[in-house]
Symmetry: C2
Subunit: 437 residues, 2 copies
């Protein structure tokens, strides 16, 4: 049967992995897809390297637009990244009637609606399994495997860099800065790690999962984002004492009046499977009303794991190539004319349990003042740990876990607690999720 | 758009769950599938109960053949179970041009080739996500999510009953018989639990996964099957001391000269995520050459979790309904004309590490004799635990872990060890898998 011709934009880490895996497993992939899938054109700034990697067997160009305009190309794989050129390339590929496979979560989280609408109008597919959690087929699971369910929530460790840093902080008692330096030395964090450590990358991904789960548009600008830069080894240790691990989670939840969409460090009970996902590994828990909680675990980054997702999309597109566009799996799991306009809730309306750590003068009546403030705000305490002052110190640490409450109540309480004479410095506040299925 | 009409054969636990979930989530399912999916006919021996469950809104019959012959039905859902009538019904539904969705692992593991060939010839789909691991979309993951990979192995906890029994034996130090009785009392084990505790159910499931992973025919008769009935709390405890948990695993592996296909109690390092899957939960690890190890976890049984998989198949079939049969996802992941005839290896040729427990006379030279025999068979020892005799006893327990070796070597060694004067009774032998990805 006639091969499917693929144009590869960018042959760096993931592009190189895609080339390698597609070549190595060509025979098995063809037995699955029904026809050969071959890369026939590669665009990369470094044409010399691209030529040497591909052994001179395919067309190599420095101009990616040449590939998206090439009439012999059936599918364009966009692995350039970023918002600007990548967006132009994807839109032009679509306009030229080509299917698109991309790993670009930033592009889709920000410009997804425009891109999916263009693809819909043109009757082509935009596949993006590689955009979330690398090789884990989580998009397929949510979009096709759990279609029976009203999805209640999704919570995921979807950034390997930060999970590696948090694992190191816990294992070795390192500070954030030292763990980050280790991660950079080992190649798990980039020279400029901002997008990872500030939670932006995780927010791109949970934004996409949120749309897929709930049938709402992609709305990155509504996501609440907190990274891990302010986490201390001390909080990780106290959480541990109370039976919790701290993970950077992307969370999206269905509520009566809207959807929650947020990324932040989160306490999770240690006994949950996802709390035991360590190092650069990723895992996503999806809670559906029929299936209960299901968990998906694997490598979230790296050349071949990400290539695994890119190629799975290539096989999907090849299998569905000739299908009536009206009957293909919808880009965002729900049909484009069936998206809901239920809003994403502001963070102040989010409900969570909380971990609070405060430093107080060690004198009578202090605890009574604090618990009175919490009671006034309707916040009830689930557990408390009081760390007595060391000899000679006049200050003690109080750590409290609250029951589930609305964030604005906690924020109001914190303002009042920080206003007490007996409180030293700021209150540390972390969110806690039970994640029980 | 015109609804898809579904005929339901059997409205017991899973059938009832399918009715409930399809009714409850009708709006969201329609938004995903593009057209309503409605059950319009139900066959069940208990017509009165079926009528009462469905509120009199659909046709109810005691004769399932009436449904598979009904020209208004598009998809038949077979939830009757067993090999005989179910097989006739599925084949007749296919002959009548209907798509089939089934949860019947026994039927497909034994008669899969015949059924898939009939469906292929007729151009209809047979979907069976519910046949393996309940609500976990593991078939979709293997068949569509990991298509880039040469799959190296799959190992799964795919029977909730036995995992519950093993969890209880470990947690509470119960005997197998007591844990089984508990499971029966709680409804986690059937009155006749043979298929579960002897590993037959798990073997049906791993046989299906094996075909999907490697592109080979479904070959249940080649599976090696051992259940958990002979496991003792003592072995579970010793394994724990050595850093392992014992789980009933379905395992299938690619080897140079064929494929392994086996079900048996297995030691797994305690730190692996899958070793911490407790109670009735299921989990499957799939190791691909590109993606590494990925894990899928969730409820493997029960009304709504299994219904979740049945309905996901209904949505898939609805989405692919009008597609050219040549371009649909192949039943067994690889195209029907592309299955490989590489054989399943006999158990004697399987490679594994082993746990050996033996009872010996506590006198000098005994250990030397044993280690000599092992060395003669080319077996090297990884760890050893010697349990000294209690006061007054003359016998000691020796527990050994071997490095990976071929099963026939171990069996030969055991025959010789059991022939020693100093050995008391039989040697207990369990397999051990590292499962590192």
């Amino acid at each position: 049967m006639k091969p499917i011709n693929v144009g590869l934009l960018g042959i760096g880490t993931v592009g190189g992995g895609t080339w390698t895996v597609l070549t190595r497993n060509q025979e098995e992939i063809t037995r699955r897809a029904g026809r050969p899938i071959q890369i026939t054109a590669v665009a990369d700034r470094d044409t010399e390297r691209a030529t040497s990697l591909t052994g001179g067997s395919v067309k190599v160009t420095g101009d990616a637009f040449e590939v998206v305009r090439d009439p012999s190309i059936d599918i364009v794989v966009e692995l350039i990244g970023g918002y600007t050129v990548a967006k132009q390339l994807v839109l032009e590929a679509i306009a030229n009637g080509k299917h698109v496979v991309t790993a670009n979560k930033a592009l889709l989280a920000v410009h997804g609606q425009e891109i999916f609408a263009a693809a819909q109008a043109k009757g082509v597919m935009v596949a993006f399994e590689a955009a979330v959690a690398g090789g884990i087929p989580i998009i397929k699971a949510v979009r096709e495997g759990l279609t029976a369910n009203r999805i209640d929530w999704i919570a995921g460790i979807i950034n390997g860099t930060t999970n590696y840093i948090l694992s190191e902080m816990r294992d070795k008692g390192l500070t954030f800065a030292d763990a980050l330096a280790d991660a950079q030395r080992l190649g798990y964090a980039e020279a400029d790690p901002t997008f990872d450590i500030e939670g932006v990358d995780a927010a791109h991904k949970i934004t996409l999962l949120s749309a897929l789960a709930f049938g709402i548009p992609v709305q990155f600008d509504r996501a609440h984002i907190e990274g891990i830069t302010k986490l201390t080894a001390e909080d990780i240790r106290y959480a541990e004492e109370l039976g919790y691990r701290i993970k950077l989670l992307g969370i999206t939840k269905r509520k009566a009046d809207g959807f929650e969409l947020r990324v932040h460090p989160t306490l999770i009970p240690s006994k949950r499977l996802i709390a035991n996902v360590e190092g650069v590994m990723n895992a996503v828990v999806v809670k559906g009303d029929a299936v209960g909680a299901t968990l998906y675990y694997g490598r979230g980054a790296g050349a071949e794991p990400t290539a695994s997702a890119v190629i799975a999309d290539l096989v999907d597109v090849t299998r569905l190539h000739t299908a009536d566009p009206e009957h293909r799996v919808p880009h965002l799991a729900f049909r484009a004319d069936q998206l809901s306009d239920t809003p994403i809730l502001p963070i102040s309306e989010v409900e969570s349990a909380y971990y609070l750590r405060l430093r107080v003068q060690d004198r009578p009546g202090v605890l009574a003042d604090i618990t009175r403030i919490l009671a006034d705000q309707g916040i009830s305490i689930d557990a408390m740990l009081q760390k007595e002052p060391s000899e000679g110190e006049q200050q003690a640490n109080i750590i409290m876990l609250t029951h589930v409450t609305r964030e604005k109540q906690v924020d109001a309480a914190i303002v009042r607690i920080e206003g007490l004479d007996s409180t030293v410095g700021a209150v540390t506040r972390l969110r806690l999720e039970e994640l029980n299925g």
